[in-house]
């Protein structure tokens, strides 16, 4: 008799479960995700296109359900996603107008992407205003989550602080007798923050080095750095820090190499990963090279199933190894899947945000903890290596790769990165 | 000391362009209501004289007094305000606008200067003035035609009409009949001089055509190489040796070419 009851209870449970399942089964079966990236301009080839490729590849795999476990379920909460690819170029103001169109005219479900810190900084408040679930994939300025608490905006990779703190630490370990340093960075949020963080960290961990008083901040996408390079060659500093990326970086490396800049000085390029694959033997040996985290060339040989799947599939489709941006966009799409799987394909922006806030997940190349910015900003390890051209393989390799855990290169949640660095990086666990 | 009726006094006027002397010791008194003809070969300094009086050119030396006020140093605008106005050898009008619009603007500027210029232009009062001018200068038929489409003669009329609407005391006409056919020239001048007589405007006009000079002027100033070689009634002027040799002679000579 109790038995009966139990059966009955189970029965009801089962029914309700089915009903529930049915309820979910009735959810949307397609969603649209807008993926903004540089399709034009100097940033497109080295950065925007690989990024878009990464996003497309991962989306297809998710739609087909061919990602390795644990992500081998079909679709985003069961729905298959179609991507709207659009250009990130043309300045922040144009992007703001486009973003409004995406949300209010084209009614996209989610927006995943953005490379330029300028754009992310401009769009974060708009996304909040329009209450639109948005995942920033690549842009790096820490300000986005330090200026204000965000409800709908996420970033699934570490920010500039981790790149530059790690760079400084790597420099300290490998060039302990380095005396002074200078830098060339683009004159916008990304460049300014990168230099600031690197400079401040150096003052903390290598107090007896000095910064040059003539650091260069050329206009982004300038493409011609002749004068800046000679200004730096004259500089007594024996290290050059640069957060250049994309076409600007490649132009700078060419022009600098031709003028023997990297023979005279140690070059530290925090976003060098893309160049390593593209420039081949034109890339000088001995550059301290980062990829804004554990991406691209730095992690090519990590043999996790997810990473091997990513590297091999990408190489099969596009014929080259995936660079950082491909990883970063890929994992941002993956984060979207995780959010949808948790919240359901018909989830509201609020539900999606709740689903992603504060979680920890395995990405293709690393573990991502959404633990900063109130669970909206990812924390990941960050690493550097030194470039070397491998003649017999006919490609660049990085030697002496070293990774620093997130807790070592990023401030704890709620602490502004500048204060954290100036405060001697308290609580850093390296 | 100026004699009561003289409103324009020109004294020792000199204008040089580098070595070239365009005007030399010019001394003239013009009395209220006179109609003065200015004759002389090309480059004799006629237009230069007109330009100096109207402030388009600054004299090198000398003085031009209009009712006692010195004009030298004033710009064209100030001189227009003072009451001296001019027409041009090549009519200076607003070619892409209609006759009516041209005159409206002229009237408006004449009537509301300064802050008034920020009040509506097209007022009934101005309209009535406009119709008057159109009638006087026989321009009604063409009033809605765009200037660029008009014949030389009509443009010249408009050019003069625009110069007159500011009710100047002195009007300088630079070759009013140039470019007007022999048949039309007298009708044309009748219209103009008739209208000007009504207002009692003092008129100085530069003219090549001696028939016109004889017929309309009360006094002739003959220019030669920047100097006035004769200042007398037309009859005597045309009979004068120097004038015949240096002005008319040249004129006939020129006509033959």
């Amino acid at each position: 008799m109790t038995n009966k009851l139990l059966k009955g209870a189970l029965g009801i449970a089962a029914v309700s479960a089915v009903a529930l399942a049915g309820g979910i089964a009735h959810a949307k079966d397609t969603i649209t995700i807008a993926v903004p990236s540089f399709l034009t301009g100097g940033a497109a080839g080295p950065f925007g296109i690989p990024a878009m490729n990464g996003a497309k590849m991962v989306t297809d795999a998710i739609n087909k359900g061919t990602l390795p476990a644990p992500y081998n379920t079909k679709g985003f909460g069961g729905a298959s996603a179609s991507l709207i690819e659009l250009d990130e170029g043309g300045g922040a103001t144009k992007q703001v107008a486009e973003y409004r169109n995406l949300v209010e005219k084209r009614n996209v479900d989610a927006i995943v992407g953005y490379i330029s810190s300028g754009n992310c900084q401009a769009l974060a408040p708009i996304a909040e205003e329009l209450k639109q679930f948005t995942i920033f994939a690549t842009c790096g300025t820490p300000r986005i989550f330090e200026e204000a608490a965000r409800k709908y905006v996420f970033r699934t990779m570490g920010h500039a602080t981790s790149d530059n703190v790690a760079a400084a630490m790597y420099v300290k370990e490998n060039f302990p007798d380095m005396k002074s340093y200078t830098g060339i960075n683009q004159n916008y949020a990304w460049g300014q923050d990168s230099w600031r963080d690197f400079d401040l960290t150096m003052k903390q961990i290598m107090p007896n080095t000095t910064a040059s008083d003539k650091t260069q901040f050329p206009k982004i996408f300038a493409g011609q750095y002749g004068s800046e390079i000679s200004a730096m060659s004259l500089d007594k500093a024996d290290l050059v820090h640069s957060s250049f990326w994309g076409g600007d970086l490649e132009a700078f490396i060419f022009q600098g190499a031709a003028r023997g800049l990297f023979k005279k000085k140690i070059g530290v390029v925090t976003v060098g990963g893309t160049a390593a694959y593209r420039l081949g033997k034109k890339l000088p040996d001995g550059l301290v090279l980062g990829a804004r985290g554990p991406y691209g060339i730095l992690v090519r040989d990590r043999d996790s199933a997810l990473n091997q799947w990513f590297v091999n599939t990408y190489k099969d489709i596009y014929g080259i190894y995936p660079s950082g941006p491909a990883y970063q966009y890929g994992q941002a799409i993956l984060a979207a899947k995780i959010a949808y799987d948790k919240a359901g394909s018909d989830a509201s922006n609020e539900q999606l945000a709740d689903a992603l806030r504060g979680i920890t997940f395995e990405s293709f190349s690393t573990t991502i903890e959404m633990k900063l910015g109130g669970g909206h900003q990812a924390a990941t390890e960050n690493g550097y290596g030194i470039t070397k051209y491998d003649a017999d393989q006919g490609e660049n390799v990085v030697t002496g790769v070293k990774f620093y855990p997130a807790s070592c290169v990023l401030p704890p949640d709620g602490v502004n990165s500048v204060d954290w660095i100036n405060g001697g990086m308290k609580g850093a666990k390296c | 000391m100026r004699n009561s009726s003289s409103i324009l006094q020109v004294r020792n006027l000199l204008k040089t362009f580098g070595a070239v002397v365009a005007a030399k010791d010019i001394n003239v008194d013009i009395s209220q209501g006179e109609i003065v003809g200015i004759i002389g070969a090309n480059g004799a300094g006629k237009t230069c004289f007109v330009n100096m009086v109207t402030g388009y050119l600054a004299p090198t030396e000398g003085s031009i007094k209009f009712e006692g006020t010195e004009l030298v140093g004033l710009g064209t605008r100030k001189i227009t305000h003072a009451g001296i106005s001019r027409s041009f050898q090549v009519s200076q009008v607003f070619h892409s606008m209609t006759v009516e619009e041209n005159l409206m603007i002229a009237l408006a500027i004449a009537n509301n200067r300064g802050a008034d210029a920020l009040s509506l232009m097209d007022t009934p009062d101005l309209r009535s003035k406009l119709d008057e001018v159109l009638k006087r200068y026989r321009l009604e038929p063409q009033k809605d035609a765009t200037v660029s489409a008009l014949a030389q003669g009509v443009r010249k009329l408009l050019d003069i009409a625009m110069a007159v609407v500011s009710k100047p005391r002195i009007l300088l006409l630079d070759e009013p009949t140039s470019g007007i056919s022999v048949e039309e020239k007298f009708d044309f001048m009748d219209i103009v001089m008739g209208a000007l007589k009504e207002d009692g405007v003092t008129v100085l006009f530069v003219e090549h055509d001696m028939e016109i000079v004889e017929r309309y002027v009360s006094r002739v100033l003959a220019f030669y190489q920047g100097e006035i070689i004769a200042d007398m009634p037309p009859k005597d002027a045309l009979a004068d040796k120097k004038v015949q040799e240096f002005v008319i002679g040249k004129e006939h000579h020129k006509k033959k070419k």
């Binding site: 922040a92 703001v96 169109n101 408040p125 004159n187 | -």
Partner: protein, 313 residues
């Protein structure tokens, strides 16, 4: 000043648009806000264009207006829509009045170039100064109206429409004054204007100042409707080109033209960008050339052709 066709139409149109806006989807409201904001600047450029002057640097005043709002917002936290608008218009107007003393002596290419030079100076300063936001510019906080912060964009949209209406009526009136009539006249024959006893320099100076006030207001409104300013899209010479582009597109025929023209431009750009993200400039450029060649009177001349027939009956 309301008793002529243009004014009547403007009033009616403004009413319809304000009411319609309440029911229109957000993105359409946005298009109108952007379009009408820019139209203010076009209104001013149209006055210059009629006078035969083309400024290839009015992004200077547009940018001043926009950045006035940005600075007030980021440094002083001023968010009132009217304060912001006034600030933008006044800053640009004062600058325009002062620079006008020089500009009024320039014509043709030199006028265009000097304006370009001045705007590029500002561009160079802003881009290189971190405290002015350098390449990133500033995000603009939502505008408040008499201390109230509205939920939707609709109130701002209404304000922009009404500001546009007011400016259009004002310019419409101005063009009927003696000063205003001296546009084509000056283009045709400056010597005559001088001989009629009117100072061409003064006339041009006034027109220039008016155009700068309007450009400043436009920049301020644009900044508020977009919520973002940056030098690339507010001050660079390409923006000046864009403004001239819309002026030609609209046509000098009427004060209504700039509003229609800017709207067409906004929609054109939105769709060009949506359909051909890599070739939208091409579409714009081609349109521009087509207008210059086959429609010198701009869109307005088309409307007149169509409307003209009706009026005859």
């Amino acid at each position: 000043m309301f008793n002529d066709k243009t004014a009547k139409f403007l009033l009616l149109a403004a009413l319809v648009i304000c009411v319609g806006g309440a029911f229109a989807p957000n993105w359409i409201v946005n298009q109108f806000m952007f379009g009408f904001s820019r139209a203010l600047a076009i209104l001013g450029l149209m006055v210059l264009w009629r006078t035969g002057l083309v400024s290839f640097g009015h992004a200077f005043y547009f940018g001043l207006g926009a950045y006035a709002v940005a600075i007030l917002d980021s440094k002083l936290g001023v968010s009132d829509v009217f304060l912001r608008l006034m600030a933008g218009a006044i800053v640009a107007g004062v600058a325009g009045f002062l620079i006008g003393f020089i500009m009024r002596n320039y014509r043709d290419i030199f006028f265009a170039m000097l304006n370009t030079a001045i705007s590029m100076v500002l561009f160079g300063i802003v881009v290189k100064t971190e405290s002015l936001g350098s390449t990133d510019g500033f995000a603009i906080s939502a505008s408040t109206i008499f201390g109230l912060s509205p939920e939707t964009k609709y109130p701002l949209f209404v304000i922009i429409t009404l500001v546009g209406l007011a400016s259009a009526l004002a310019v419409n009136f101005y063009l009927k004054t003696t000063f205003g009539k001296l546009t084509t006249a000056i283009r045709d024959n400056e010597i005559r204007v001088e001989y009629l006893g009117f100072s061409v320099a003064h006339a041009i100076h006034l027109k220039y100042t008016i155009s700068t006030i309007l450009a400043g207001g436009a920049g301020a409104l644009m900044a508020m409707s977009l919520g973002q300013v940056d030098p690339e899209s507010m001050i660079n010479w390409t923006v000046s080109g864009e403004l001239v582009f819309v002026t030609i597109l609209s046509g000098p025929g009427s004060v209504i033209a700039p509003f229609i023209g800017s709207l067409v431009f906004e929609v054109l750009r939105t769709y060009a960008f949506e359909l051909a993200p890599q070739a939208w400039q091409l579409i714009m450029g081609a349109t521009f050339l087509t207008i210059i060649f086959f429609l010198p009177g701009g869109i307005w001349s088309l409307i007149e052709k169509l409307g003209g027939k009706k009026n005859e009956k």
